[in-house]
């Protein structure tokens, strides 16, 4: 395939099978720096498995996965990959429910992750300012001392996006960010992601077509573990195979 230098994320011929079921079948995807890629596809197309492989949760049976053109992600574990600068938002919003919104962000904030560094950590003024700024961005400033468990579904989604921001990653993997959000929240989220994608690479998995349209990015349609079609949303949604397998007539 293409040369991997200059790419932010490079997947080539990635396959993985669970008990004979091919979740990914020779999947190849490239994301460039400061680029947004939207991934659509039916359930079971392998979207979540792809994220699992990028973030080190699952090891591929075959294929190459490179970050920043040079780091082989298949050799690293989740923590190492996260520290390289890859942040992930889960399909089901996963925040630390028994802790406050502020604490959630403080843990996510990009700081040394070592045991003793964490044990003796005290928030500096810049840290406090940065967390406040993020809280403002994700509109949770008023709820900073509330437990994450008390947030609404949409707010949890926002908090998780806020945690992504706090991590300050180079590559964001965002799985169904607008599920359970109101229309206006959805529009806001699209705006926020577009803003982020100006400086970082973003991969968004989403079913909501109008949201994908709002993102206005390159689109890849996955099915049965490999790429079905690539291009702009209009190109992809006009593809007869995509209509057949995913969008329906």
């Amino acid at each position: 395939m293409t040369d991997r230098t200059g790419t932010m994320l490079y997947l080539d011929g990635v396959s993985v099978a669970f008990d004979g079921f091919k979740a990914l079948n020779k999947l190849s995807i490239i994301v460039y720096p400061a680029e947004m890629l939207a991934i659509i596809g039916p359930n079971g197309a392998g979207k979540t498995t792809m994220m699992d492989i990028i973030t080190g949760k699952t090891r591929p049976d075959d294929g190459e996965v490179f970050f920043d053109g040079r780091t082989d992600l298949t050799r690293l574990d989740e923590a190492a990959i996260a520290n390289l600068g890859i942040g992930r938002k889960f399909q089901k919003p996963t925040v630390f429910e028994s802790q406050t919104v502020w604490d959630n962000l403080e843990m996510a904030l990009r700081k040394p992750r070592g045991i003793f560094a964490t044990l003796f950590y005290t928030a500096s003024d810049t840290d406090t300012a940065r967390i406040t700024e993020i809280l403002d961005t994700v509109r949770l400033l008023g709820r900073k001392d509330h437990l994450a468990a008390d947030l609404s579904h949409g707010q949890k989604q926002w908090l998780e996006i806020g945690m992504l921001l706090a991590q300050d990653p180079k590559l964001l993997l965002v799985d169904e960010p607008v599920a359970g959000m109101t229309d206006s929240e959805t529009v806001e989220t699209a705006k926020l992601l577009k803003e982020i994608a100006k400086t970082r690479s973003v991969v968004v998995v989403e079913h909501d077509m109008s949201f994908v349209r709002d993102l206005g990015s390159r689109v890849t349609c996955l099915a049965e573990g490999s790429v079905l079609a690539e291009g702009s949303l209009d190109q992809v949604s006009a593809n007869p195979v995509v209509i057949e397998r995913y969008l329906g007539r």
């Binding site: 630390f96 045991i115 003796f120 437990l147 468990a149 991590q167």
Partner: protein, 394 residues
């Protein structure tokens, strides 16, 4: 940095607890030693080591709480660390007997003479020195916890699997310490101690001093634990407890977080064991019984896990109950203990402290609707959002 962290740890509750413990460390010995016999406020002689024993149990429960309540690691083998600390202290006390033993051998403890051993095994060297022994009290449990934890956490053994292998660990140690060849007195363990730091071990003053030492050690353990749990690392520990893999995706090395908690906890348990032994006068392999370790879990659960004070309350309450029941109705103690396990898990998932907290948050909420602190999530909610337990085949 350290002082800052310590200062932060000294929230109001911790200060109160430490203050109470220091008061207890002074008042209990004073009441026993200074007040005349027959005075209504005088603690009888038997009560001092008994209360001291409760304090060491409280310390053990606190140690377990650090890993279970805060980090989600249910260790069913914490009794092993306690026992190892106890054995290290016991070895010092054995060496102090010197030639006052039955066989009057100045070097070898009686049981070695009895087994016809000619020389002291190498691992008994140095235990005639108090400070070396105290170092071992902390170092050996720490080392065991480190090796065991490193292997287990690195390969991500979690949930019930971890609980079961911790149980296997203490069971293996139980079998090992029963063997005479191990050189720890086999079945009978270590006993017949004479003196500690030159003071006769069963003298009232020694016992009072041991009690005070236990209270102060517990206070220190509380300080260390609250420093850890109030730090950012403590928050990460709770994050690991609630959603382990999410914490990994934030870039934290979950295995090291757990390892840290496990080792610190093992050291606290070891010190507790070391204080326990001179107050009860014996250490034997029975302390490694898996059932002992599980009992510690119920102390912690009854008091309220995930809090500093909960395990202390729980350990003391359950053990006072145990002393009473086994004296008054020995038949019923196991019924009561069994029922306690069932009732606590079914109706008191947050323990006594949680119950009080619920009552409090209810009243405060009534008083001030707007600014109401949101009620702690019920354990069921926390659990459902938490990392899935290794539920097989789902």
């Amino acid at each position: 940095m350290l002082t800052q962290a310590l200062f932060r740890a000294l929230d109001k509750k911790a200060i109160w607890l430490v203050a109470i413990l220091i008061a207890v460390a002074v008042l209990v010995p004073a009441s026993n030693l200074l007040l005349p016999n027959g005075h209504p406020l005088r603690l009888p002689n038997y009560a001092v080591p008994l209360f001291g024993k409760y304090l060491t149990f409280a310390m053990l429960a606190l140690a377990l709480d650090l890993v279970w309540g805060y980090c989600g690691i249910l260790s069913l083998g914490h009794g092993a660390f306690f026992a190892i600390g106890g054995y290290a202290m016991g070895m010092y006390l054995m060496r102090q007997i010197g030639n006052r033993g039955v066989y009057a051998n100045p070097i070898l403890p009686d049981f070695m003479v009895f087994l016809n051993w000619k020389e002291l095994p190498w691992y008994w060297y140095g235990f005639d020195n108090f400070w070396f022994a105290m170092l071992m009290v902390m170092l050996v449990p720490a080392l065991l916890a480190f090796v065991f934890g490193f292997l287990a956490f690195r390969s991500r053994v979690t949930g019930v699997y971890l609980s079961i292998i911790t149980q296997a660990m203490t069971y293996a140690l139980l079998l090992a310490f029963f063997r005479n060849d191990m050189g720890f007195g086999g079945n009978n363990g270590l006993t017949d101690f004479k003196e500690i730091l030159g003071a006769p071990i069963s003298a009232d003053t020694t016992r009072a001093a041991l009690f005070a030492a236990s209270a102060i050690a517990l206070a220190l353990a509380i300080l260390v634990c609250s420093m850890v749990v109030n730090s950012k690392l403590g928050k990460v520990m709770i994050a690991v407890r609630d959603a382990e893999s999410r914490t990994r995706f934030l870039g934290y090395r979950v295995e090291y977080v757990k390892l840290f908690a496990f080792v610190v906890s093992a050291v606290i348990a070891g010190i507790a064991g070391a204080l326990y032994v001179p107050q009860v006068g014996i250490i034997n392999p029975g302390e490694f019984e898996p059932s002992n370790s599980i009992e510690v879990v119920i102390w912690t659960a009854v008091g309220g896990r995930g809090t500093i004070i909960g395990p202390i309350i729980g350990a003391i309450l359950v053990n006072v109950g145990k002393s009473y029941f086994t004296g008054a109705f020995p038949e019923f103690w196991l019924f009561a203990l069994g029922a306690l396990f069932v009732v606590t898990t079914l109706f008191l998932p947050k323990g006594i402290v949680g119950l009080i907290g619920q009552y409090r948050s209810l009243t405060t909420r009534r008083e001030q609707h707007d600014r109401s602190a949101p009620a702690a999530p019920s354990p069921a909610e926390v659990e459902s959002s938490a990392d899935p337990q290794p539920k097989p085949a789902e």
